[in-house]
Amino acid sequence: MLRWLLGRLARAAGAAWLTASLVFIGSRLLPGGPDQLALADASDLSRPVAGTRPAATQQAARLAVRNRLGLAQPIFYVTRTAGQWQWHGTANQYHRWAKAALHGDLGYSYRDGQPVATLLVHALRYTLPLAASAAGLAVGLALALGLYLARATGSVWQRLVANLLNCLQITPLFLLALGLLLLFANPEFLNLLPAAGQAPGAASHGQLAAYWLGRLALPLLSLVLAVLPELTLPLAAGLRQEATSGYATTARAKGLTTRQMLRHHALPNAVIPLLTTLTDLLPTLVAGTVIVEVLFALPGSGRLLAEAAAAHDYPLVVGGVLVTATARLLGLLLADVLYFLVDPRLRPTA
């Protein structure tokens, strides 16, 4: 088991590296780039670029930006120009980045020159607690609601809950978040929670903690409500399907209540899709909460990466992809371990 684990971890590290490398090369092949965005708009009359040769001036400025950011070197060890392959040796951007990354230096952001690792850590400080607690809460609620819905007593409440879950399923995340914002942070309706704005200045730890709890309540609620249907509905369907099998009838015949039968016998068999979906959620811990962060003005990593992608801030994007890929691969690993824990017959493959 340990050997398998080590093998998978090594493969995961390799795959994350490969993904980051592909994004590295791909982002530099895109048209446009930080040099184009860094220069002011020539149709901005409040900042006129005076001169007799504006095209040459702008070309020189763009070249200067590329030199400063290190984008003037060839991208990879080999490049293909006009059908011919050319070897460049180690004087290329990829080699520089790889060497630095292997020493733990993910580079510096193009926009403010700060180390990428610092920026990511600062942003993850907001995103990780939010997303981790959302995932935990969602799984707990999904298990509870799935068991409730699978009992199939046909009561009005059950139908109501099922329909509510369907409504939540089709509501996009931003509509949910916007709705919650307008309901609970609106002076016109209920002004319960701080949606954005100042933390109490020099306040005690307790006050600060209360402020952040209030501030994170609405984003947490929107994330949980957005994710809940896709965890609950397949679980309920799977449980209902398991409940018609032979061993379930035996269990009921033995004298167990429906609830006990579902929880102890049907659940381990029906939980595999839930585990798959759950471990799919892990990468969203890093990059998927962008909509919630934009609406609730949280300086999280989703927003950071989205803005970096829009501004062509390559080091930050590649660093973010590395972290996201690692998270996803760890999620896959976790899924296989959980499969094994739930059903020992599912020995993990090499």
Binding site: P54, R68, L178, F296, P299, A310, A311
Partner: protein
């Protein structure tokens, strides 16, 4: 434990019925920024938030006076004396204020200005933008008798030379370059340094020293001469500026408008979503909301409670919504085709629909309030019949399938319109044009493009029409940056090239005589109307919503639309009145 929860619930509900808190003299003023400034390096000011921050932390020779909508002297004692040399150079004579000092007590001298301009030329620093913008300043001649007096020799002639020469933050030479290593090179030598040649070792050493200072995140590492210092910066969330206790301009009597800094503490909240920012304004988490979008402005004004607590301002700005044509495309080569297409836009309807009727329609690139506006030209309007007639005049023939064909061409008239995605105004304009064109028989494809892709596509000419904002200014009429033929490849994305227009474009900025200038501008507007490389639709308004408790709110049509340093709370005014 349960009392804790009950208590918090009660506290939450109590906070639900909140009234605006009474502001003390030292209460911070909360303003909304749509994006993070990204870097506070005074050499690189990438967006409007960074410009606002630079104006708080540093000083420039000239700053915008939002009350008079003109440039006013800040570090300079007075507006520069303008003297033309020959027919291509201008000499601007500046004198710095005697009271101006850095934080460490050293006076601000002409050598600091010289050093700053040379620093703009050092490769390896994020100064490419500023280098291009201030490259027209070729020499700094310091008066040997008066260390505060100097002359800037600039390439080019015209009023923009004067206004554009003073808009950069001055940096201290003593702190960044105590050994005065840059003094041995004249400015022109550094400007003409070939890019392939390695920079001089002293320059490289200076660049390294500058980078180590990390001014992008910690501008306090260098003494500044602005009224505020950065107290805290949480990236993407909030910036806090504290007023310096002793600022050199406090002693000046009378205090010029641009050298007033009343607020004790300024907090800028980075709120990217407009609706969330409006909610923050309603909850009294914000005091100033600049550049409010039209819908939200309407919603705020419709609520009686909001009308009690907030004051609303609308000012006409200098941003023009423009539709441009790619004159290099064979279909759009003939100016009659372009004129015909311009008749398919409906500026009146779009103004009413997207801007609530606020803003000004225009015939050219000048606002109707300008004395140079050509009022003898008719306003562009929706006229599909006229458009069809113009197309026929240009040689297009409408065939049975309803489309327009040029004889000998394989494809009918079909256009693609590019514009920046995520902007409702552009989307509505594009949709209206598409609907009007479809009624006339022209197929239009809409391509909302992401910003960086759009810039690239416009530069390479991969479009037929575009819709964007031309950001104008009241200070000058240098349209050559995007209409002159030698700007093709940089700012001239329409590919427009017309010798008459070229002559006018070069003559207008250099013309000092007002009646002659008026004549030239009127003629330019006529030429542009006939050739129609771009169609200005209307001027957009700037809307501002501010708390009713704020005093001295100055709204303006120049970016960012308000004068932050003039604001104050009534308690602060009373305090000030009490001390005098």
């Amino acid at each position: 434990m349960k009392y804790f929860w009950l208590g918090s619930l009660f506290a939450l509900l109590a906070s639900a019925c909140s009234t605006p808190p009474v502001k003390q003299a030292s209460s911070p003023i909360y303003t909304r920024w749509a994006r993070d400034p990204e870097t506070l390096d005074p050499l690189a000011v990438p967006n409007q938030s960074a410009i606002d921050a630079a104006n708080l932390l540093h000083m420039a020779l000239l700053l915008v006076d939002y009350q008079a909508n003109a440039y006013a002297p800040a570090l300079a004692q007075a507006l520069p004396q303008v003297r033309t040399i020959g027919d291509s150079l201008t000499a601007l004579g500046y004198e710095l204020r005697a009271a101006a000092t850095w934080d460490d007590g050293q006076p601000v001298l002409a050598t600091d200005v010289d050093f700053t301009l040379k620093l703009l030329q050092c490769p390896g620093l994020p100064n490419e933008n500023s280098r291009a913008q201030f490259g027209f300043i070729r020499q700094v001649l310091i008066d040997p008798a008066n260390p505060r007096r100097f002359t800037l020799v600039c390439r080019g002639q015209g009023t923009e030379i004067m206004t554009g020469s003073g808009d950069f933050s001055i940096l201290p030479e003593a702190a960044l370059d105590p050994a005065h290593t840059l003094r041995r090179w004249p400015l022109a030598v550094l400007q003409d340094w070939p890019a392939a040649r390695a920079p001089a070792p002293a320059v490289a050493a200076l660049v390294q020293r500058y980078q180590r200072a990390n001014l992008a995140r910690q501008p306090g590492n260098m003494p500044g001469c602005g009224p505020y210092r950065l107290a805290a910066w949480e990236t993407n969330q909030q910036l806090r500026f504290q007023r310096k206790a002793h600022w050199w301009a406090d002693k000046l009597r009378p205090a010029p408008f641009v050298l007033q800094a009343r607020p004790q503490e300024l907090v800028f909240a980075v709120l990217p979503d407009d609706a969330a920012a409006a909610l923050a304004l309603r909850r009294h988490d914000l005091d100033v909301y600049p550049q409010v979008p039209a819908r939200i402005f309407q919603q705020l004004q419709a609520s009686p409670k909001a009308r009690e607590e907030l004051v609303f301002y609308t000012k006409s700005s200098y941003d023009i919504l423009t539709a441009g044509f790619n004159t290099r495309r064979p279909a759009l080569h003939d100016r009659r085709t372009r004129q015909a297409l311009s008749q398919l836009f409906d500026p009146a309807g779009l103004l009413a629909a997207t801007q609530l009727g606020q803003g000004n329609r225009t015939v050219g690139l000048l606002p109707p309030s300008s004395p140079f506006y050509n009022d003898s030209l008719p306003l562009p309007a929706l006229a599909p019949i006229l458009a069809a007639r113009l197309l026929r005049q240009a040689g297009w023939q409408r065939r049975a399938d309803g489309h327009w064909w040029q004889p000998g061409e394989a494809a009918p008239l079909a256009l693609t319109v590019r514009y920046r995605a995520e902007e409702a105004t552009f989307a509505t304009t594009a949709l209206q044009f598409q609907a009007a064109a479809a009624r006339v028989g022209i197929a239009v494809a809409l391509l909302p493009t992401e910003n960086s892709v759009l810039t690239n596509a416009l530069q390479t000419g991969d479009f037929d029409l575009y819709i964007r904002l031309v950001k104008g200014s009241p200070f000058g009429f240098n349209f050559a940056t995007f209409l002159h033929s030698n700007a093709i490849g940089s700012g001239n994305i329409t590919g427009f090239s017309n010798p008459v227009a070229d002559r006018l474009l070069l003559a207008i900025p250099a013309e000092g005589n007002l009646p002659r200038k008026r004549l030239l501008l009127r003629r330019l507007q006529v030429v542009l109307r006939e050739e129609m490389p771009l169609l200005p639709l209307f001027f957009l308004p700037y809307r501002l919503a501010a708390s009713r408790q704020l005093r001295h709110v100055v709204a303006s049509g120049i970016k960012p639309g308000y004068a932050i340093t003039a604001l104050s709370w009534p308690a602060a005014d009373a305090q000030l009145a009490g001390t005098h």
